[in-house]
Structures are given as C-alpha cells and as structure tokens.
Amino acid sequence: MSAVGAMTDGAGPDVRHGRRILIIWAVANVIFVPIVIWVLGPHIPPYDASQQSTDQHNVNVVLSALATPVLLMIWVYFGYSITVFRQRGPEVVDGPPIEGDPRIQVTWLAATTVIVIALAVYGTVGLLPSSAAGAGGGQGPNPLSKPPNAASALQVQVIGQQWLWTFRWPGYGGVQTPYLVLPVNRWIAFHVTSLDVSHSFWAYELGVKADAIPGNDNVAFVRPTQLRSFQIRCAELCGLWHGHMNTTGQIVSQSAFDTWIAQARVRYQGVTQQLPPYSHVYYPAPDQRAG
C-alpha cells in the first residue's frame, strides 16, 4: 500500500500526482470496503447450513475485504495515469527518463511480502484443529484439522461410483443407503472413497468438498447447524453423467434421523447381507474385461 506514497518521493520534483492518487485511493477505500463487507458480504457463498460453511463464508468476506484495497490501488493508479499522463496531440514527446528507484522497489516488496505472509498465516490458522473452517475440505486418511471429539463423530462412508453416490453407515450394521440424511448439531465424519474413477463429493451448502479417489480414504468433518436440505454434486470430471451425478441431502433432528436410519436398516436388510465387510477402501476387480 505505502508503495504509492513512497513512489511519489522517487518520482522527481512533482509530488502532487502521488498525493492526489493517495487521496483518491483513500476515499475509494472508505466508500467501497464497507460496501464489500456489509452490502456484498452477506451474499457471498457458501451460506450457513453448517459451522464449516459459516466459517468459509467469513473467510471469503475477509479475503474480499483484503482484496478490495489492492484492486482499488491498481485501478486508481492506472486510471489516474492514463487520464493525466496521456500525450495530447499527434506529436511524440519523450517522458522523463526515470530508470527506477530502489527505495520504492524495496517498499513494495516489503508490503507485498507482509500481505502474503499474513494471508498464509490466516489460511493456516483456518486449518488448525481449533478452527472449523478447514475441516470441510478432504483431508485424507489422517486429518490435520479435526474437531476435539472427532472419535465420537457420526461416521458416514461416502461411496462414489460411475455415476451414483451411496452412503454406508458403519455405526448401523454397515447398512448402505442411496440418500444422505444427517442429524443436526452433531459432528459428522465423512469417509469419502470411490469404486472406479475419481469423483469429488461436494455438499455445497455444508461447505464440504472431498475428492473420492479409488484406494484412498478421504476424511472430511462437518457440523450441520440448520434443518434444511442441501445439494450434493460431483466436482471432479468422472465420465458421461458427471454433470448428472447429483442428489439432495437432508439435515433433520436427531430423533428423525434415528427413525430414518432404523427404517433403512429394515428396508435394506436383504441387500446389506450381500455387501462386502465395511472397510475404508474397496478395490474393484482390477481390470474387468469380461462381457
């Protein structure tokens, strides 16, 4: 930021340009940053169906608030330059031969470095166990950012195959269901895996996205906070019906969930016996080339 201010010093005798640019920029910030935060901000997805999506929403708002001054600085500077520093008339006149100024360059480098490190720290904090923001992203077999009581979380295995999502419940006799119903206000541990090619399990409103990779157990945590439905989509190109590999999930009360899963166990009793024993990964018959 301060680079612009410093630049004016290096830019020779005439410092008014720099001051003007700074003023315009400051005014623009005063106008637009609040707009971004309080007017645009509430509309930035993902929304607040879960603790994760709420935190991700906040992250997006913070990033937007940070990006705005940078955007404005460049736009104001360029806008000012191309209006004020333009050559009027056909003749070609050379500008002042300014070859550069170490102080400005160092200032700029320092400023960008500070911003970058701040961003990286901010993003890393979002991955710590204490934070919920990063928990929704697929974290592989041994998660880094997991809730304190991860062990007691409700285990749900998400199985992707071409082109269908099915869900297996190890805590309930390994029953498998074609629909996803989750209890509200409870930590859920998704174990995402695939039977054939790569998919990506995207529960949009929940703020969960985890690639389903054959031979990999991809864990993601979420804590739903609203009674509502949510979209489930595939976010990794997986063949013909990739765009149709979507379904709708439901967040319900604990009691409603208990009755639903109980019914499912009864209904799918017969087929459950055929399922392979529950495991974190399933290896399909290698290259099944038989007709």
Partner: protein, 211 residues
Amino acid sequence: MGILVAATVLVVAVFFYIADFLAVAPPVLAASTQNGASTLTLQTVPAYGHAPEPDWVTYLGLDSNGHWHHTTIYQLPAHTLVHVTLYQFDSASGLRNPFLAQVRGTAGGIASVDGKSFSVLNGDDASHTFTVPDLGLSVPLKGVPAGAKNPCSAAPCALSFDHTTIRFSFVTPGPGVYRWQCFVPCAAQFFYGFGGPMQTIGWMSGELKVV
C-alpha cells in the same frame, strides 16, 4: 499470408465437421400408451453385431409396430403407470456395488424374473441394471445362466435364443428429462468394464423423456 484465407476456410470446415459429429444423437422411441398405461419393451444384447461397434453390449427398444430400434432414448407420458418388459440375452458379470441388487422405486418395490417376483437379486447373477437415479428407480437384471445352449450373437435377438424375462412397473413423474444407465461393469475389452458402451448414449446409457 495468402494462407490465412485458406486457414479460415479450413477452420470453418473443421468446425462444421466437429459440430455435425457432436450433434448426432440416437432417435427417440415413444412408448405405446393405451387406456392410461404405457408399455415399454426392451432387450439387452451381449454384442450388437453391426457397425459401428459390432462387439458392444447394448439395449434395444421395441416400437408399437413390433420393430426393434437401436436406441436408449425413450419417451414416456407424465404421471402414468409404465409396464416395462425386458428380454435379457446377456450372461451375468456381477455388480461392482452389490447394493444395486436391491429393487427400488417400482410398483410394490418388486420386479419379476421369468414370472418369479423378487425384491433383491444375488449381485453376482446380475447382468445389467435398469436404473434411473433421479427417480430412485433401479432394477437388477438376472443374466442368462452360464453355458447357455444357443446364445444370441447379433441384435435384434429373437425370443428363441436363451434369455430371461424381467417385468416391472413404475409411475412416471412430471415432465422432464431423466438419465438412466446400467450399473454392471459389462463393457467387454474396457478397463474396469466401464468404458465404451457404458459411457455412450444409445448403448448402455440413455434418457427418459417424460412429456
């Protein structure tokens, strides 16, 4: 630089070729409807037997005049009971996810194979499935037992060849386009058994156009 003109012409030519190729789609087959119920008659063939892909497994549909058509895009009336009859000439190759051995979304939650009704099939006996995920409709199709006397080699297959007959009914939803597919990895010569016909509309995947 005179090449530029030729280049432009070439671009347009290539473009139209690509567009033309990509726009092709199998024909739409309308189910025959009388007194409030539709009937949809299909068959599955282990190998189509003709160009362009003689060795691909495929579905075929029967029109009201008794002619078989090589297509998987079927048009059904909305909010109507549809009786589906499936002649199954392929042998079993087994389900990847045995959960799909469960009959779902049909009238009464059952289907019948050769007259015997069932709600769960043994996943290893499945040769194909007829599944419409968006409707929660899924029926596993029992394969012809191994060592069949006279297997069918080329479509369309007459009923004199060894086959199983699967029957079920379901009620169509409101108007819309619903994709359907087979979930048994049954594509010969393809890794994971899921390439080629499984990923090509007109063979083992298709659409139900509900109007």
